[in-house]
């Protein structure tokens, strides 16, 4: 009796062995008897080990029906010589049997490390990134570095090629169809992988080789422990402080004040909100924001309070003085590239319409994005405005001036954002302006931003 193994919608199906025999040869036992199809089933991620054991124990009697991903011959590889730390990272990953995590700070060239590995392996590769912008950026980097026009899954496109780029979301949705098409998975910003849904992107693939890239592997929910199983162990870690390639930079905080009209609306809203919470806390001890949000679903008064809270955020976000401060920053640095981060899409568009400067938003299409980034790099566009989409790893040319206009920040976001300014090009120091409303919640958020690792080496000044 022959034993066969095949790929089925993100899982492996094994046919032709009894439970006893299977238990004899597999330890730990990875199989589950599936009575629906009268076969044994396991996650596709176990393909490498399952194939090895079955070949070893059954020899000729084992037929591997799992699709073999194609091999690739890169026609024109044009990559930067790896720096010594990048070469170390590549070697460390290979020593970890081609499964592992590389932890490097943003700006230290993780992309180059991944491209070096792809160039050497010459295997069908899927690159998974958190947002569409990054996906397109990988597409560009692969074309420029490896001379291949990669397939794209995501952003309403579905084109599968031996080298394909995608997002975590699309990868999780489609992996049951494409899980047998790749030998190497590259997870960019890999700390995103261990959610209940996204992890299917790793579990449902047969790829024996896996590379995870991140600057911040730790997750608040402890999910990073699973990266070991889903990708592999930490193969290489470069501390932010050890990096010799990053430019020093200042943070300058600029406090602005709301206009009288804004202040009136802001205070009015604050008062109503305070009153509401005061009254509610008399009825129920510890009544908080969460209670309000659930009450807002049943009670129109609570909903109005919720709206007032949104209004406060919006007044902070769109305070008129921010625009004037921005104007002054442009005046101070007329010949420098300035990168502006906003908290919301609306604010980004508002600034763009005011200063007639290009934006990169979540919906910006590939062609425009490329034109904008190229124009920014060449100096054709002196200003680039972005909302959170540029938070992670998006390659922005070596801007020296950054402006953060509010926006809710977590420690990780701050590391990533500052990373944009830390590109190892040029020698002069970068400046990051933080424009925050005085006496509002933005000040608190700004303090929180400062706790991140990236801030440790920065000096703070006040204007």
């Amino acid at each position: 009796m022959t034993v066969s193994l095949k790929f089925h919608e993100g899982t492996l199906l094994l046919d032709g062995l009894s439970q006893e025999k299977l238990r004899d040869i597999f330890s730990p036992f990875i199989w589950i008897k599936d009575d629906r199809v009268n076969k044994f089933r396991t996650d596709a991620i176990h393909y490498r080990i399952a194939r090895r054991i079955l070949r070893q124990k059954l020899g000729e009697n084992f037929i591997d029906k799992v699709h073999k991903p194609v091999e690739i011959r890169w026609s024109k590889v044009r990559l930067h010589e790896p720096r010594s730390d990048q070469a170390d990272a590549v070697a460390a990953w290979r020593n970890s049997k081609g499964r592992g995590l590389i932890v490097m700070p943003t700006g230290a060239g993780k992309t180059n490390v991944a491209l070096q590995i792809m160039a050497k392996l010459e295997m069908a590769t899927l690159v998974v990134s958190p947002v569409r912008d990054l996906m397109y950026q990988w597409h560009r980097n692969i074309r420029e570095g490896l001379g291949v026009d990669a397939g794209i899954i995501g952003d309403q496109l579905y084109k599968v090629s031996p080298v394909t780029v995608t997002t975590y979301h699309s990868a999780a949705i489609h992996m049951d169809k494409i899980g047998d098409k790749f030998s190497l998975l590259v997870f960019d910003e890999a700390h995103h992988l261990p959610t209940d849904f996204f992890r299917d992107a790793a579990l449902m693939s047969t790829a024996p080789f896996r590379l995870g890239l991140t600057a911040t592997p730790d997750r608040q929910d402890g999910g990073h422990a699973d990266l070991d199983m889903l990708i592999g162990p930490e193969a290489y870690r470069q501390k932010l402080k050890e990096s010799k390639h990053l430019a020093d930079f200042y943070v300058e905080q600029i406090k602005i004040h709301l206009s009288d009209e804004e202040r009136d609306r802001y205070d009015g809203a604050s008062k109503a909100i305070q009153f509401w919470f005061g009254e509610k806390q008399k009825e129920k001890k510890g009544y908080n924001r969460k209670d309000l949000l659930s009450e807002a679903n049943e009670n129109t008064k609570a909903r109005r309070i919720k709206k007032l809270m949104c209004l406060k955020d919006s007044i902070e976000d769109r305070a008129a003085e921010k625009i004037r401060v921005l104007e002054d920053i442009f005046r101070i640095h007329p010949n420098e590239r300035v990168l502006v981060f906003t908290g919301t899409n609306i604010m980004a568009i508002e600034i763009s319409r005011r200063f007639l400067a290009p934006t990169i938003l979540s919906h910006t299409r590939k062609k425009e994005r490329q034109a904008v980034l190229k124009g920014f790099e060449s100096g054709e566009f002196p200003v680039l405005i972005a909302n959170q989409v540029l938070d992670e790893g998006v390659d922005v040319p070596d801007a020296k001036i950054g402006v953060v206009l509010g926006g809710k920040a977590s420690v990780r976001q701050a590391t990533q954002r500052l990373g944009r300014l830390l590109r190892p090009k040029g020698a002069s120091k970068a400046v990051l302006y933080e424009i925050v409303c005085d006496d509002t919640r933005e000040i608190l958020q700004s303090r929180k931003r400062r706790k991140g690792d990236a801030y440790e080496r920065t000096r703070h000044r006040r204007l």
Partner: protein, 414 residues
């Protein structure tokens, strides 16, 4: 369809039951009025942006104590049923690049020149630059500004209003859509079915779900549904497929449906449905008969003849993922069954597939009616003697003869 961000589900912790948001005439009578007003907003709203339409709907709900998800769900359903002008994405993007390139040479655009300083002379005022660009492009600045971000989804303009005929239509769509949204979190489901199980099974397969079938009594079956990876871990990844099944299921009769839904607290809750749940499908009910040959045979035979009851699609034969529902079952009072399959119009592929299926179930009593044309008869005769040939309609006499000889032979073997 809604997204899971729209879902409003009430979980009863004691009974572990999930209840998707449901608007009923009894408790939500005022929603008929609200729905009518929403339809009016959209019908009168051609040319308005998505954002403006949503604002108006939100305003309508100002005094209605409800989850804001309900409001955004209505907006989503109305948006989906209507049509917006194509975003002219290329046009807006081209305009942006053109305008920003022209403006870049004048950077920064200041509100007012600093006339007191030397630098002021080098500065460019926003309003002046904008006017220059407008003149350059031969448009008014207002026209340029309107187009500049016209591709942002909330600035899209409504072209055709949604096609809901009545307020009741919109409300029943809402109820189905909310139940579907609750099913996105489903890890598995089970359907019991009698009359329509063949149709239900066909839809199950179309949705790409795996099934396990068990017989509850002579005419009722239980279909357990989930996906390939469900056996490895609890996963809601097949919830969308279950949600897609719902509108088709609602066109059928004689079923119950129970899904296991993941709650936000990582426990599970039951979601129960049946044709009496008050949900109405927007799809049409399936036709009662596959072909006229079957229909006329059923008419000729009647409900019962010579001690045999005739039941249309009264049984599922199943082995793992292979299922076969014969067109009819002849059932005697003592429980003896003979399955009856009519092999009608075909292609060679159809014939081969049918034969392959029949071979899997060769241990069952299956009587075939095979059309005499085009060599089909020969193909099946090679494999079984249990055949009644027919030309234009199936005659009763040869069928009854086969049935009776079946009773005799099974009596002998006993």
């Amino acid at each position: 369809m809604l997204t899971s961000e729209h879902a409003i589900v009430d979980y009863d912790f004691r009974s572990r039951v999930a209840k998707p948001d449901r608007l009923t005439r009894m408790n939500h009578g005022r929603y008929v009025d609200l729905a009518e007003k929403m339809l009016i907003i959209y019908r009168d709203g051609a040319g308005l942006t998505r954002r403006e339409l949503h604002r108006r709907v939100e305003y309508l709900f100002d005094d209605e104590p409800c989850n804001t998800r309900r409001i955004s769900s209505f907006c989503k359903l109305l948006d989906d049923a209507g049509e917006y002008y194509p975003d002219g994405g290329q046009k807006a993007a081209r305009m942006r690049l053109k305008v920003f390139r022209l403006a870049a040479k004048k950077h920064p655009l200041v509100e007012r020149k600093q006339t007191e300083t030397l630098f002021g002379a080098l500065e460019n005022e926003e309003s002046v630059v904008k006017q220059e660009i407008a003149d350059d492009l031969g448009l008014s600045w207002q026209e340029i500004d309107d187009l500049l971000y016209a591709d942002v989804i909330s600035f899209h303009r409504l072209k055709t209003p949604p096609n809901y005929a009545t307020a009741a239509d919109l409300l029943s769509h809402y109820n189905v859509a909310q139940t579907q949204a609750a099913l996105y979190k489903a890890q598995s489901a089970a359907i019991t079915a009698d009359d329509d199980f063949k149709t239900i099974l066909r839809h199950v397969k179309l949705c790409g779900l795996l099934h396990e079938i068990s017989r509850l009594d002579s005419s009722t079956y239980r279909i357990q549904l989930d996906g390939p990876a469900s056996i490895l871990r609890n996963t809601a990844r097949y919830g969308v497929r279950l949600a897609k099944l719902l509108p088709a299921l609602l066109t059928c009769v004689g079923w119950t449906f129970t899904a296991n839904v993941k709650t936000p607290w990582k426990t599970t809750a039951r979601l129960d449905l049946s044709p009496n749940s008050g949900l109405r499908s927007h799809l049409n009910a399936p036709p009662a008969f596959d072909s006229s040959i079957e229909e006329s045979f059923a008419e000729k035979f009647g409900e019962e003849r010579d001690g045999w009851k005739l039941i249309r699609e009264g049984a599922i034969l199943h082995k793992h993922q292979k299922t076969f529902v014969p067109d009819f079952v002849f059932r005697r009072v003592d429980g003896q069954e003979m399955f009856f399959e009519i092999v009608g119009f075909w292609t060679p592929e159809y014939l081969k597939a049918k034969l392959d299926t029949l071979k899997i179930f060769s241990n069952r009593n299956i009587l075939l009616a095979v059309c005499e044309n085009e060599g089909a008869l020969e193909v099946f005769k090679e494999w079984t003697d249990n055949i009644v040939p027919y030309k234009t309609g199936i005659k009763l006499a040869p069928v009854l003869e086969k049935l009776n000889s079946f009773v005799m032979s099974s009596a002998e073997s006993r």
